[in-house]
């Protein structure tokens, strides 16, 4: 287990570096894909680079990186262009347009691959999907050489350098154009009115995404590329509402997932007693998936738990407020302020265990004393209840006067609206003459 965590500078560090750079460049750019609802574009591009690769190989006859890179880049840009052509000229919905384009290109790639296979050429299709991180080692020189020496740098595989350049370009683009990217992502019309061309920014973004995809997938495989484009950004989006925080968080998440996946691919199978390592790119994807799943559950504001807690708290507050309202209206009846003609039905308020819980909460806050039938409002409770009833009756007046509802239709909506807390949704205070609600009940407070 511990042994699995040891990093050999020749065997382990190059693939780890490649994965980290791929994670950073894709993970950061992915933020804008997710915001622009183009997440599946990465999927489309990374599938359709296959024919570009195979064609480049068949034409150039080598597996040299530059030829393959150019072939894949052409295919990637073709995908972007074709998708937008099918979408705009053919008026096909964007999801379907991507599906059509990438599957046709991929089919072409499979066919070309068979041609290559017929010539006994080893061009492993699987590496397009899984990547070949495991083969990205540097050859250890005979005498050995220290880490980070010139010799080590010289022997690093070319992919590592390609990816490093790609990462720098991606980060530079985002630093330079952050303002433009942000405004185009959130409000293309506003951007256009301020002289920023959404089409141009979008085209730049797409070219970079295509480049990052192409640079990454040979090392890490197309599946990890898709995962890195979408998962870190989506995870970060659940953690924060600020774009630059989100971008930074996505970079950190991508980085950590890459490292965890890298070591997990070796450590976890050993811990489980399996003989061989599992696929590294796959393990990184799984790490990203786990990060996302955990975030969905525990994210502070947008998480499932936070949402559930908010709902529970809201439910309890509504119950307590309903109890206060019921007690206040009962006092009003006793005092003769309201009578049967105004509200023929006396609403019971919360009952059973809900009533007990509401009472307990109100008592803790010093709003009522006594329990059950004997519960009475304290003076603080009376103020709170008066405020609530005031809001209820103001809403009723508003709904009749401004929204044109009939007086016998306004109680139920007011029952919901009275619990709204934010200042913007306070009902408008009626004029001085309006001291009673549509049913003739007095509107408390507000003098």
């Amino acid at each position: 287990m511990i042994e699995a965590l040891r990093v050999d500078p020749w065997r382990d560090l190059p693939p780890l570096l490649a994965a980290v750079f791929a994670a950073l460049s894709c993970g950061l750019l992915g933020n804008f894909l997710v915001l622009r609802r183009l997440s599946m574009m990465g999927d489309a591009i990374s599938h359709s680079v296959l024919p570009g690769l195979v064609a480049a190989f068949l034409i150039a006859g080598t597996r040299s990186s530059p030829a393959m890179f150019i072939g894949a880049a052409i295919a990637g840009l073709m995908t972007v262009g074709l998708v937008s052509l099918v979408r705009s000229a053919g008026r096909v919905e964007s999801g379907a347009a991507m599906g059509v384009v990438f599957s046709v290109l991929f089919a072409l790639g499979v066919l070309l691959l068979e041609q290559a296979a017929a010539r006994n050429v080893d061009l492993d299709a699987d590496c397009v999907l899984h990547g070949q991180l495991e083969f990205l080692f540097a050859v250890r020189p005979a005498g050995g050489a220290p880490l980070l020496s010139v010799e080590w740098l010289r022997r690093l595989p070319g992919e590592v350098y390609t990816l490093a350049v790609m990462t720098v370009v991606a980060i530079g683009f985002m630093l330079l154009c952050f303002k433009e990217l942000r405004i185009v992502s959130f409000d293309p019309e506003l951007a256009a009115s301020q002289g920023i061309s959404p089409r141009l920014v979008n085209a730049f973004l797409m070219v970079l995404v295509a480049a990052a995809t192409v640079a990454s997938f040979k090392a890490v495989g197309s599946i990890l590329v898709i995962a890195m484009l979408v998962c870190p950004a989506a995870t970060a989006r659940l953690l924060t509402d600020r774009l630059h925080t989100q971008v930074i968080a996505s970079g950190v998440i991508a980085l950590i997932a890459a490292i965890i996946g890298f070591f997990g691919a070796t450590a976890v199978p050993r811990a489980l007693g399996l003989a061989d390592d599992v696929n590294t790119a796959g393990a990184m994807t799984v790490a990203l998936g786990l990060f996302f799943a955990v975030t969905v559950i525990v994210a502070p504001r947008h998480g499932v738990i936070a949402g559930a807690l908010r709902r529970v708290r809201l439910g309890r507050r509504v119950l307590m407020e309903d109890l206060l309202g019921t007690l206040y209206r009962a006092e009003e009846r006793e005092a003769g302020v309201i009578d049967e003609s105004m509200s023929p039905v006396m609403r019971p308020g919360p009952t059973g265990t809900q009533r007990l819980r509401a009472e307990a909460m109100a008592r803790r806050r010093g709003l009522i004393t006594g329990e059950g039938e004997d519960a009475t409002l304290t003076s603080a409770g009376r103020t709170a209840a008066a405020d609530l009833v005031r809001r209820h009756r103001l809403w009723e007046s508003y709904l009749v006067q401004e929204a044109g509802l009939r007086a016998d239709h306004v109680h139920d909506p007011a029952e919901t609206l009275e619990h709204l807390r934010d200042e913007g949704r306070r009902p408008i205070a009626p004029t001085a003459t309006d001291r009673v609600d549509p049913h003739g009940k007095p509107i408390p407070g507000g003098e």
Binding site: M40, A89, E114, T285
Partner: protein, 460 residues
């Protein structure tokens, strides 16, 4: 090793072999596979048409990628418990299981987070496939040695299909065709207007689930024939191609089914006849070709048809502008000299409108062909019909000017600028309506001379 793409020459089968395969006489196994893929294509076209209209085309993509962990997992389970690790029903069962799980995950992400569908699909697709790859690498290190067949599911391999596999595929495809055909009306309602469907008492959620179930069936069935990456194509491409040809739902279903069926048929026939032509890829390429042709040539929604319509519209508008130009000159000229306009003047006048000389000549020739202007040597003159047409254009123009000023609160300085484009699309009935409403207010729409737009005080 260096060489062109055509280095590898395929040995072409003889005509008799081609005809025999096309007519399903090339041996029982081949025939079964061809019938199976054809049925699969029809099923994909039908089901895909529904999911395209429901705007869920890419859901199938996430679903198909998510079948990999199911296949690899089922394989590992069978190996662990000593079952037949290549049993197709077990592998497809596993595929369907994780496929459905992926759909549930997409729904869960959409319900419980603020992420949009595209992100949900991307996450589910990549993470499930990543799990699949991890399981696959575990399977590859297992000693049983039968795992080689698993990668067939990624790229598809009809050649590896046994008779039973093909029959299983055909019957599942047939089942989904039947269900889709029987429930076509209800599904259509859900696709076009789910809110309406809900109030008319149609169980929308149930039908949505059913549709998803059909998509799962087609995907899982197609795994062996086309492979899990390309199976999305048989669900999307025929439907998207069919959409170009018609605006009618039933016709679209029919066209999608036919396109899917033909692609499946041709794909497996070609694959049976030629070496190194995987059926999946050929099927997708055939349907892709049909899509490209449809997108270009479809009568109303095709690219060429749209471009032609736009060009015709531009020419008509240019002609109308030229007519009113000629009319203005005719009225400005001293009585008796007529409206004849020499070519130079014409080109100069058109140049002011930003037209090229060639375009002006083309427009003039078209007008002459329609008998609206007369060419006298190098000059142009309105015919009586042309004069009437020019007056109609000008009248529409004024109607719009007035309408925009009186009703649409457009600033008078902008009126002239926008009406020029809009006068050409006025329908006859709208013109009559406008005329009536304006004349009722004492404004004359016809009559000679420059119309005076009534300006409000604050505009001055």
């Amino acid at each position: 090793m260096n060489g062109s793409l055509t280095d590898v020459t395929d040995t072409w089968p003889g005509w008799s072999a081609i005809v025999e395969t096309l007519l399903l006489r090339a041996g029982f196994n081949t025939t079964i596979v061809i019938v199976g893929t054809t049925l699969l294509g029809v099923a994909g076209g039908l089901v895909g048409a529904f999911s395209l209209l429901r705007k869920r085309a890419l859901l199938a993509d996430a679903l198909s990628h998510a079948t990999l962990p199911g296949i690899a997992g089922a394989f590992l389970v069978m190996v662990a418990f000593g079952g037949d690790s290549r049993s197709l029903p077990a592998l497809l069962g596993g595929a369907a299981l994780t496929g459905v799980l992926a759909l549930l995950c997409v729904q869960l992400i959409l319900r419980s987070t603020r992420l949009r569908e595209d992100a949900a699909l991307g996450i589910v697709l990549s993470v499930f496939f990543g799990v699949g790859i991890v399981l696959l690498s575990v399977a590859q290190s297992s000693p049983s040695g039968t795992q080689a067949g698993l990668s067939h599911f990624i790229y598809g391999q009809t050649a590896a299909m046994s008779r039973h596999d093909a029959i299983l595929m055909g019957s599942i495809a047939l089942l989904s065709i039947l269900v889709a055909a029987l429930l076509a009306k209800e599904l259509a309602l859900v696709c076009f207007n789910d809110a309406f469907a809900k109030v008319t008492g149609i169980p929308v959620t149930l039908l949505d689930l059913l549709l998803m179930g059909l998509v799962v069936l087609v995907t899982v069935t197609g795994l062996q024939a086309v492979g899990l990456i390309l199976v999305v194509a048989i669900l999307i491409i025929p439907a998207a191609a069919a959409r170009f040809w018609t605006d009618r739902f039933r016709t679209m279903l029919l066209v999608a089914a036919i396109v899917g069926g033909i692609s499946g048929y041709l794909g497996s026939v070609v694959s049976a006849l030629l070496p190194r032509k995987p059926a999946g890829a050929v099927i997708v390429l055939v349907s892709g070709a049909v899509f490209a042709v449809s997108m270009l040539l479809a009568p109303r929604r095709g690219v060429v048809a749209i471009a032609l319509r736009a060009a015709r519209m531009r020419l008509r508008i240019a002609g109308e502008h030229l007519l009113s130009h000629l009319l203005e000159r005719e009225e400005a000229a001293p009585a008796g000299t007529g409206s004849a306009m020499s070519n130079d003047v014409l080109v100069a006048g058109a140049g002011a409108r930003g037209w090229s000389a060639a375009r002006t000549r083309l427009v003039a020739r078209l007008l002459a062909w329609r008998g609206l202007v007369q060419r006298r040597g190098a000059s142009l003159a309105l015919t009586p019909a042309g004069r009437a047409a020019g007056e109609r254009v000008r009248r529409n123009h004024r109607l719009w000017e007035q309408y925009l000023v009186s009703y649409a609160d457009v600033a008078p300085s902008h009126v002239d600028w926008s009406v020029d484009q809009v006068e050409h699309v006025l329908s006859e009935s709208l013109v009559q309506e406008l005329e009536a409403s304006l004349e009722a207010r004492g404004i004359s729409a016809s009559g000679r001379g420059r119309i005076t737009v009534q300006r409000s005080d604050e505009e001055r």
